[in-house]
């Protein structure tokens, strides 16, 4: 894993060029099995500046970023120069859960990191000083109830909280350079602004930030310098403003295609994007130092006709209904309080809110994945058993779930096609042969060829796997399909594809009712109705157009970035 390539400060010869840099990469080439994953990349990171590497997944961003940590993929052939000034380099990976030890409480590693900085204190004072530093770092990473978080296991934290814990590790370390890999993946609009604010604050302290991201809003908000990567090469680089105003390379133009690279042709809606100007009020993060330019981004055209009209008010009886659901984990306060909502046949309901707000918990209660709750979940008016294990085949088929991390939702050792077809066999009693034909046809409709589907999950991209996961759930012919953040973690081009698929599904008259759990307002725009969750309570519920354009609750206003919003806190 480690390579001697990472040179020390002393061996840096070209002192002139490095005078103002804390790290520099020159002509880096990383080859795995004869294939170059990174080819001829060069970049310089400077204290207090944010350098962004932009590109689709698989473009070599992470490999380049990890080179600053002196880490390379196993069996890689590395050539080129990587120079890092003395001092630790912090790393915030894309999936923060992977660097959190599942068997230890969150506080364990933080305490050990703090210990390295308190060694010069008298023995008795170390513990208290260490704890104070840990709490300060958590506070700086915007985890104010740090003392409580320290005693939790990683799986008891939301994705956003996990990420803030990992960011706190880097802050605690006193890193001079922080490599942040897709830091806003899996975060809602509000938290995304907070992370942007935090990364900006990190930069303000004189730390160099290398941002690896496909979140163009974030890059636009933060970056001083942008490098656009494609297939291991830097296709274009330069100061952020210039790149944004005058993209030279066609790939850059395609990447910048959709506004913020998120919305897609059919589902756009006339929400004015105010990416750079967080609403005033205590809820929002402090403005990033690098206030981005008010670039003339092409606004999406106002929605011509909000999806085929459906009965949204006096419609048919609800298919799935939650009544006064209050859910908790073992030994934690309630994650969800008294939540009631319903979704009618053929309707599309979006549940939005910030990460840690209880969205996923609500979805898991509906799906029978979380059984520790009070209240009722009803399918066609009849109570559903709390636990998946007690649900019969028809009930299992009726409520299907698509997970955020499609790769983790597939067995890595069996062909995708077999796993997709299995649903029809298990839940509908179809013969294996017929199920396979059905799966091939359904996968074909979402653009996955039989050849692709016969590979193992490792041979498919994230977007392809997410589409396969959707098809797998649909083969159960569900009454309700719950999609948990299915578009986050995908780069903008891939995300557009999955969004289009969801939009088609929502329009299909005989299709299942959709429950979209999301923090992404563009995804939420697909819905007929929206429920807004904050701190475990449903604070607003109503037709989508209304909730997004004329939000009533202050939290919703903050979330949608409406002007004049006043935060609830």
């Amino acid at each position: 894993m480690r390579s001697p390539k990472r040179a020390d400060a002393e061996t840096g010869t070209e002192g002139g060029a490095r005078a103002d840099a804390v790290a520099e990469i020159r002509d880096l080439r990383v080859e795995i099995g004869g294939r170059a994953v990174v080819d001829g990349v060069g970049l310089t990171v400077r204290p207090g500046r944010v350098t962004a590497l932009v590109g689709a997944s698989g473009s070599g961003k992470t490999t380049t970023g990890l080179a600053l940590l002196g880490e390379y993929p196993d069996g890689a052939r590395v050539t080129g120069d990587v120079w890092v000034a003395e001092g630790p380099v912090g790393y915030v990976p894309q999936h923060p859960a992977s660097v959190l030890n599942p068997a230890r409480r969150v506080g364990a590693l933080l305490t050990d990191i703090a210990r390295t900085g308190t060694a010069d204190l008298p023995r008795r004072a170390r513990r208290a000083a260490g704890r104070a530093r840990v709490l300060a770092a958590l506070e700086a990473a915007r985890l104010p109830d740090g003392a409580e978080v320290l005693t939790r296991y990683p799986h008891q934290l939301s994705g956003g909280q996990q990420q803030r814990v990992v960011l706190a590790q880097a802050l605690l370390l006193g890193a001079r350079t922080v490599v942040a890999d897709e830091p806003t993946t899996g975060l809602d609009a509000l938290t995304r602004r907070r992370v942007a604010g935090e990364l900006a604050a990190v930069a303000r302290r004189g730390v160099a930030v290398l941002l690896l991201s496909h979140d163009l809003d974030l890059v636009r908000d933060l970056a001083d310098e942008v490098l656009v990567m494609r297939a291991g090469r830097v296709v274009e680089s330069g100061p952020a403003e210039e790149l944004w105003l005058r993209p030279r390379h066609p790939w850059t133009r395609e990447l910048l295609g959709g506004p913020g690279g998120t919305a897609d042709g059919g589902q756009e809606r006339g929400r004015p994007r105010t990416p750079a100007v967080p609403a005033p009020g205590p809820v929002t993060a402090p403005l990033p130092v690098t206030v981005p330019l008010p670039v003339a981004v092409p606004l999406p055209a106002p929605d011509p006709a909000p999806a085929p009209a459906r009965d949204t008010v006096e419609g048919p009886a609800p298919v799935l209904e939650a009544r006064a659901v209050t859910a908790r984990h073992r030994g934690t306060p309630a994650l969800l309080r008294d939540a009631s909502l319903s979704v009618r046949a053929g309707e599309c309901l979006a549940v939005v809110g910030r990460s840690g707000g209880g969205k996923t918990t609500l979805a898991r209660c509906l799906a029978g994945l979380h059984s520790r709750y009070e209240g009722q979940v009803l399918l066609d008016g009849a109570p559903l058993p709390r636990s998946l294990r007690r649900r019969d085949r028809a009930q299992l088929a009726a409520v299907q779930y698509v997970f955020q991390d499609a790769r983790a939702a597939f067995d890595a050792y069996r062909p995708v096609l077999d796993q997709v077809a299995r649903t029809a066999v298990r839940l509908r009693g179809v013969r294996p042969g017929a199920a396979e034909e059905e799966a091939v046809a359904a996968l074909g409709r979402v653009g996955l060829s039989e050849g692709t589907a016969r590979r193992r999950p490792g041979g498919l991209s994230g977007g392809e796997l997410q589409r396969a996961a959707l098809v797998r759930a649909l083969l159960a012919r569900p009454r309700v399909l719950i999609c948990d953040e299915v578009t986050s973690g995908l780069d903008s081009v891939t995300r557009r594809g999955v969004l289009r698929l969801l939009a088609d599904l929502a329009r299909e008259p005989a299709g299942p009712a959709l429950v979209l759990i999301t923090h992404d307002l563009d995804t939420a725009a697909l819905a007929d109705r929206i429920a807004v969750l904050d701190a475990g309570a449903i604070v607003e519920q109503g037709p989508a157009a209304e909730a997004l354009t004329a939000p009533r609750h202050p939290f919703t206003r903050a979330l949608t970035g409406s002007p004049g919003a006043h935060g609830p806190r």
Partner: protein
């Protein structure tokens, strides 16, 4: 949590009852009974019938079982057919040496097994790892009686360092520690190997994980990473293995006790089966069943603590 424990205990009681029923049925199915065994060298049918009547063995099996079960509810395990003394006496006499052996084995077992596992994992793929793996595999492959005979032959008979068996030392074995060395060595040999191999497997996986890489990257010292961050991930499987070992030790290690003539529960069991002493066999089945249930429950609690995610679904 408490409901989970209560459910597990109830299930364990049901399992124990099932084991007792099965043991009763099997001893009934054996040819001969306690009367035949007591009659010994004088197998006169009339005498056997008389003994049978005196011991109430002429009553139908289900009545005897019902009587015994009724007594069990009052904590009465019945009376030994062979000696006429309460079954609890026989169990108490046998459990002393067994508990002593088990304790003496378990105390060095944990540090040795964990230490070997961590050592091998630290040098994964290197000569130390290969040496540890080769030796543990070889020792694990050797049955207790073979290793026991080897050790007795070399250390007791040839070199005369230690007494070969516990014959002549009575039940107070603690007064003669030399007697215990060979049995403990034999008992220790295989569990150390299986525990070490399990810890090594869990450790190598944890050491290759991103969270250990993160701890190293952030300057946490190597020893601290191994013991405080990687080892907890190997604890859950090791605890299960440890529970199985403790269960095996407490429920009478027949071969080892027989080899070293130690009057523990294993010896009591063998004697009771030979004498068709059904109440003693059933009493032992109850004790062994409960021990197994409690130990496994404990191991599952440890596993839940160190693999909390898996516990959510349980």
């Amino acid at each position: 949590m408490n409901r989970w424990i209560a459910r597990r205990l109830l299930l364990g009681l049901a399992q124990t009852a099932g084991v007792v029923l099965l043991v009763f049925a099997l001893t009934e199915a054996l040819p001969g009974d306690a009367a035949v065994a007591l009659a010994g060298d004088d197998p006169d049918p009339a005498r056997i019938a008389a003994i049978r009547e005196a011991l109430h063995l002429d009553r139908p099996a289900h009545e005897r079982l019902a009587d015994w079960a009724a007594g069990l509810l009052h904590g009465d395990l019945g009376v030994s057919l062979a000696s006429g003394r309460p079954v609890t006496d026989a169990l108490a006499a046998g459990s002393g040496p067994t508990l002593l052996l088990a304790a003496l084995t378990l105390v060095p077992l944990v540090p040795l097994g964990v230490g070997l596992g961590v050592l091998a994992a630290r040098h994964e793929g290197g000569p130390v790892d290969r040496a540890v793996s080769a030796v543990t595999l070889a020792v694990y492959a050797m049955p207790e009686f073979a290793l026991g005979i080897l050790l007795v032959t070399v250390l007791a008979l040839r070199l005369d360092w230690l007494p070969p068996t516990a014959v002549g030392y009575g039940t107070d074995l603690l007064a003669h520690p030399a007697v215990l060395v060979l049995p403990v060595l034999v008992l220790l040999s295989r569990p150390v190997c299986s525990l070490g191999r399990l810890v090594r497997a869990g450790m190598t996986e944890a050491l290759a994980s991103p969270y250990v890489a993160q701890a190293r990257r952030y300057g946490v010292p190597g020893a601290r990473v191994r013991w405080a961050h990687a080892l907890p991930n190997a604890v859950a499987p090791a605890a299960q293995q440890l529970a199985r070992t403790a269960d095996w030790l407490l429920c009478g290690v027949v071969v080892v006790e027989a080899l070293f003539a130690i009057p523990g529960l294993g010896t009591v069991l063998v004697d009771a089966v030979a004498a068709r002493d059904v109440p003693v066999v059933q009493g032992l089945a109850v004790v062994f069943g409960l021990v197994a249930v409690v130990l496994n429950l404990g191991a599952d609690l440890v596993a839940r603590r160190f693999a909390p995610r898996a516990g959510v679904a349980a």
